[in-house]
């Protein structure tokens, strides 16, 4: 654990070395999330509901998703660069360390913009969200949603071990984000089955909203076991891919 804390301290120092850029990135990310959310506010000013989903549900979807996303990706900032790290042979740097290769790769940097996601999420919740009495449940679901985001990004980026180029995985993750950040109650039952299995975006934009509406411990347990299982599967995919990794011999060094 000591090396993780030391790495995080180092990353934090790097991140905040230029305080102006750090603050700008975080602030602008929060603002841009709020700006885009304005469109949903305009939408629900004219449309009463989407089959039972109103502004509160969409606010929860965006805010909890942003908080979960921010919590994980502000710390695991190497995740969105993982395919490039693999393709360019920079994973050598992590292999030289006597620690977990995956964690070393994910902890290569921290991201200020993801901290902005957290701030933006809380502002959305305060302005349009469900009642504050539900805050503990919302935060718990945020963590679970964040785990799904990490699992999806890690799995897609690990495909670089099988030759996927370094740009496509992030676009693939954006496609996942699109599915995960929009209301899903219009889908047919079969599509919902797909969203709760093959493309697990339903654990971000479907089941958590149901849990918020009709709380049950069994649904919550399902949500958390799904997010834990998916994260474990993503780690497994990474390690399966790692066996195929051939050193680039370009980036051997110590950090």
């Amino acid at each position: 654990m000591g090396w993780i804390v030391a790495t995080l301290r180092l990353n934090w120092a790097n991140l905040t070395a230029n305080k102006g850029v750090f603050a700008t990135m975080a602030l602008l990310m929060a603002l841009q999330n709020l700006l885009y959310f304005l469109l949903w506010v305009a939408f629900f000013a004219r449309i009463s509901s989407l089959k039972g989903w109103g502004l509160q549900e969409v606010t929860f979807l965006y805010a909890a998703g942003a908080i979960g996303f921010g919590i994980f990706f502000s710390v695991l900032g190497g995740c969105d660069q993982l395919s490039r790290t693999i393709q360019t042979g920079q994973l050598d740097l992590c292999l030289t360390r006597p620690r977990s290769v995956l964690l070393s790769a994910l902890l290569l940097r921290m991201r200020a913009d993801s901290l902005g996601d957290i701030v933006g999420g809380f502002v959305m919740l305060a302005l349009f969200g469900p009642s504050l009495t539900q805050l503990p449940l919302i935060l718990a679901l945020s963590v679970s949603m964040g785990m799904i985001y990490v699992a999806a990004r890690l799995t897609i980026h690990s495909l670089a071990f099988w030759g996927l180029d370094d740009e496509s995985p992030e676009k693939g993750f954006i496609a996942f984000l699109i599915a995960a950040t929009n209301p899903q109650n219009g889908f047919s039952p079969w599509a919902k089955v797909v969203l709760l299995s093959v493309i697990p975006a339903g654990y971000i934009a479907l089941l958590p909203v149901e849990i918020l509406h009709h709380f049950s411990w069994s649904f919550l347990a399902w949500q958390f076991s799904a997010s834990t299982t998916l994260l474990a599967l993503a780690v497994l995919v990474f390690h399966l891919g790692l066996r195929r990794y051939e050193s680039g011999n370009t980036s051997i060094g110590l950090r």
Partner: protein, 302 residues
């Protein structure tokens, strides 16, 4: 092509010097001069288009993003009570076709931070050393890329929309025929040109420091929000609609997309004129930022 036109230009000059300038020769000379002066921009646009087509990975991933958007939004529009918008004859299909056009422009964009990235890589002086306008060359290159990608996406959208029980852009255009088709082509070109201009203007901020990327997030989200990415500006609440209409963002996606909502001819013309107005304004902005960037680059060796 540049060499061929250059040769033609030199030949015409020798011809006019030896024979004197008759009217026909003067016109011929002017045409060649114009072609010669435009050729770098035509080449830049062709280069951009070629890059967009050759980069199969990027094109494929853009297609995945676009098709995902269409699938997700087909499901959302299916449960949207459009009758609450109070526009007779409006169907969910109209909203979906609007979205397909608007998204093709957004997803097809090579990136609002692209020019800033080139400046950050120290390639500004490379651009300034070309014997043509940096603004024109960059715009032509960006537009070439953007135009081709958007066309591919919209082509796929046109095939995919009937599978999702939605009318296609072509189907909606059929009623009014060629005029609406021409309007859509012009309007999309103007929208793409506006995005290119915004990319250039945003990129110049990079000369001050690494701010162009976060600023490009703000501009892209402003285009989504005030341009009405999935909900047309015409249906916004009054105050928000008025604020949006004071910005150039509806001209990027709302105006082209609104051609899918059965506008009148007057409405279509109004939209095109609004786009031309913003193109003029952005042209002035670019002229000013270009001068500033050149001064900065020459004085501070950017």
């Amino acid at each position: 092509m540049t060499n061929a036109l250059g040769g033609m230009f030199a030949l015409g000059e020798r011809f006019t010097q030896s024979e004197g300038l008759g009217d026909a020769r003067r016109v011929w000379h002017m045409q060649q001069s114009l072609l010669f002066s435009l050729s770098p921009y035509v080449a830049a646009a062709r280069m951009g288009a070629g890059q967009a087509l050759r980069n199969r990975g990027a094109l494929g991933s853009n297609l995945i993003v676009y098709v995902t958007l269409l699938i997700v939004w087909a499901a959302i529009f299916r449960i949207t009570p459009v009758e609450e918008l109070g526009l007779p004859g409006l169907t969910t299909g109209h909203l979906f076709a609007y979205f397909a056009v608007a998204e093709s422009i957004i997803v097809g964009c090579p990136g609002l931070a692209l020019f800033g990235q080139l400046i950050a890589e120290g390639r500004l002086s490379e651009g300034l050393s070309r014997p043509c306008s940096l603004v024109g060359f960059t715009l032509a290159w960006l537009m070439g890329q953007h135009f081709v990608t958007t066309l591919v996406l919209l082509g796929v959208g046109t095939i995919a929309l009937p599978l999702l029980d939605a009318p296609t852009p072509l189907g909606l255009l059929a009623g009014d025929g060629a005029l609406r088709g021409l309007g859509l082509a012009l309007s999309m070109t103007f929208g793409i040109a506006l995005m290119g201009m915004m990319t250039y203007a945003l990129g110049t901020v990079e000369v001050l420091g690494s701010y162009s990327r976060p600023l490009s997030w703000m501009v892209s989200k402003s285009i989504y929000a005030f341009g009405g990415l999935f909900f047309p500006v015409a249906f916004f609440p009054p105050l928000m609609r008025e604020v949006a209409m004071l910005t150039p963002f509806p001209s990027v996606i709302f105006v082209p997309g609104s051609l899918m909502l059965n506008p009148t001819r007057a409405g279509m013309l109004e939209g095109l004129l609004m786009q031309l107005f913003w193109l003029g304004v952005m042209g002035l902005v670019l002229a000013a930022t270009h001068r500033w960037v050149v001064n900065k680059a020459l004085n501070e060796d950017a």
